[in-house]
Symmetry: C2
Subunit: 436 residues, 2 copies
């Protein structure tokens, strides 16, 4: 089978969904990528584009004519079309809008107004609505007319002002008498969200109520769109990636095979911040330069106090950040959380500190340095508990993502306090003649 | 309103779902918890129990009679009932099984065989199945008979051997003629999973194909259960929590308000491992004790090389672990990934190293130490790139969770190599008379 044929085969192979196709395309050279992509149906092309990495997508879009992009956008559902619009360059958006049909524009235009990370940014404008006075068979007729019927699970009941007054799950329509009025089969308590709600909150609601789709309303309770559970799954993955990346000091947009120049540029800011926090740690050691000159051996033990504090702080931080994301803790509960973490830090500081006393006694034949380490470790694990608890809760309170309290910030606290505690106590011991 | 009345109100307030109720119960004192929980319907009680933390759940279950537990289990769907069974003590399981009806036992028993974290462990045994020779109206009749109809989105078509041969989405049933044969409306390409498949893979399949439910088959393609998207959302959250926790060295079971004794016990093992890795770093400094004795000032700069390496390694690690979880990279691509990361490490090492040269020149008025730092940082950022890339990929290859390559492991590499590189080069420079 020749290359071209093989590519055509891959492009049409039905088990290859958009997700896999996006990954696959991103790994091809730009030229081959373009020729494979053009073999796809416009819809599959569009969905694959959305699944690709930002960088490859931008590259591929640049190579397509405005006409092609317009055709792709026309083939997509309104929410996907809007997402693709958002990834176009501003100057191009207007040119492409002129190439779209009036109907498509009507669907997309209202969606473009919403922030990408809100309910409005997630929703599609296609949904099936009926009136309470309609009959079941009239509702079924509406479903039949709807092209996107594939993904219909609920029919929404609107009044004359387009306000949401009820919902009818499909299985109720299936089992109801055709002549029955919708008002008699509909469920009046509908769980909906405002279009401005943050996507993380939307996901929480889906999770709490085990939903497969949820209507979105505007400030006047007028139904404006529908969010489906597949979009929510994407949100959950996005938010988890964001948290993991932020905790590790990685800009969220990066992935394994982003281009090196992209990765260098993106990681450099955090590394530079880390450089300055490391200098802060250095300065706290420099403060005790005389002590170190008097007893260079002390330098050997610097990583222990700092490392243990950094590790304990990271543990606390991860638990707080995840607890905030999952709604296990509210900011007002900071006292309760702090009390617990301080207690845990104290206990683990004493236990691991005693192990250190023993090891240092065996390794270097000194009890005094072991005791200094024990004291410094207890202090530093308390600092770690306080920083790991309070920094993310403080950020949350200030409406900043708590995951930005990344490991870098917490380890700055534990480095500085760890070195100060250890060298400070050692200095006092030296002056008292207990050491050396 | 008295306490009792208020509690009763809260217990029945409809906006309070099981998720919230579980959280709420976990925060009460054991005695109040029990009295509030008993006000709930058995089903809501059961669902709330499942949403509670392990610790509180065990405590509450202990206080309930076998009879109560059996009633609660009887009120739940098979997958939830099985989950509750799994959280009972072994000795109690048998006693409670005797109290269940024959029908309930039949539903639950096959599910108890499956590992909790597989498709079989996620699925419920309730689903609606029809024969290809049935008519649409016969299928609708079956849905009407099904008690759990709330969550039906698809009807599955089985042959005489109970093998899965097709699927009919509800909207097809809605819009088809009642007299039509199922064989004419069914979709023959059904996406299903084997009962032994890992839950992470199950979630991936839901995501790729935008599903709301998926049938589970045994090794002979016989349909044995159904997984619904709400269970998949729980899996995604679980897996994300697990990754975040493992990267930070936290045992996965812990949450913000686990009891202090539980937290101390759970975190201690990782802290102890960290203690020994920190001692390894100390030993690598001790190796250069003479150099430090000759020039104690060098100790000041120890945190910079180690810290920068640790941070760069953490960035790479997070990207690899997430990339593996999301399927962005396969183990075989290790060369490509390593090449990229080494290049990024080299570039960022040189850039941040040059910044350090400048700062040290201004701060301590020495160019030589700056140059040593630059060289050591470049070496250490290369070590960080290699460890951050290869350790998680190696674990994945060995079928171990790559997130277990937690920050602790990576920073051990960067600490040891960072100290060795910096003090090693300084020792050479000292001997050559270039330093001090």
């Amino acid at each position: 089978m020749g290359v071209k044929k093989r590519l055509a085969f891959i492009a049409h192979a039905s088990p290859f969904n958009a997700d896999q196709m996006g990954d696959y395309l991103g790994k091809l050279t730009p030229k081959v990528m373009l020729s494979v992509a053009r073999m796809l149906s416009k819809k599959k092309f569009g969905l694959s584009l959305l699944e690709m990495e930002e960088e490859s997508r931008a590259e591929l879009l640049k190579k397509l004519s405005d006409r092609e992009v317009a055709q792709i956008i026309s083939s997509l559902k309104s929410d996907d079309a809007t997402d693709l619009f958002h990834s176009l360059e501003k100057t191009r958006t207007k040119r492409i809008m002129k190439l779209l049909s009036e109907k498509k524009l009507e669907e997309i235009r209202p969606l473009l107004r919403f922030e990408e990370e809100t309910a409005g940014g997630l929703m599609q404008s296609e949904f099936v609505s009926v009136k309470a006075s309609d009959t079941v068979s009239e509702a079924i007729e509406k479903i039949r007319e709807c092209k996107e019927a594939e993904e219909i699970h609920n029919v929404f009941v609107l009044n004359s002002k387009k306000e949401l007054v009820g919902v009818v799950p499909l299985r109720k329509l299936v089992t109801a008498k055709p002549s029955e009025k919708i008002s008699r089969v509909m469920n009046r308590s509908v769980i909906s969200v405002k279009s401005t709600l943050d996507q993380e909150q939307v996901a929480k609601k889906f999770k709490e109520y085990d939903l497969v789709s949820m209507p979105v309303v505007d400030s006047k309770n007028k139904m404006v769109g529908l969010i489906t559970v597949d979009d929510v799954i994407d949100v959950l993955e996005e938010e988890a990636t964001e948290d993991i990346y932020r905790l590790a000091g990685v800009p969220e947009e990066e992935s394994v095979f982003s281009s090196p120049s992209f990765s260098i540029k993106k990681r450099l800011p955090w590394l530079t911040i880390n450089l300055f926090t490391a200098l802060l740690a250095s300065a706290s050691i420099a403060f005790f330069e005389n002590t170190l000159a008097a007893m260079a051996t002390l330098a050997i033990f610097l990583p222990i106090v700092a490392g243990m504090g950094g590790n304990a702080g990271t543990q606390t931080l991860a638990i707080m950040v995840r607890g905030l994301a999952l709604g296990e803790i509210r900011v007002e509960e900071y006292k309760k959380a702090l009390k617990k973490e301080l207690f845990v830090g104290l206990a683990n500081g004493i236990i691991t500190g005693l192990i250190v006393v023993l090891i240092v006694l065996l390794w270097r034949n000194t009890l005094v340095i072991g005791i200094i380490l024990l004291l410094a470790m207890v202090i530093n694990l308390l600092v770690a508990a306080a920083a790991g608890t309070l920094v993310p809760l403080f950020l949350k309170w200030k409406k900043i993502d708590p995951a930005l309290a990344s490991t870098i910030i917490i380890t700055t606290f534990t480095d500085v306090f760890g070195f100060m505690a250890f060298l400070g106590i050692a200095t006092v011991f030296l002056r008292l003649g207990w050491l050396g």
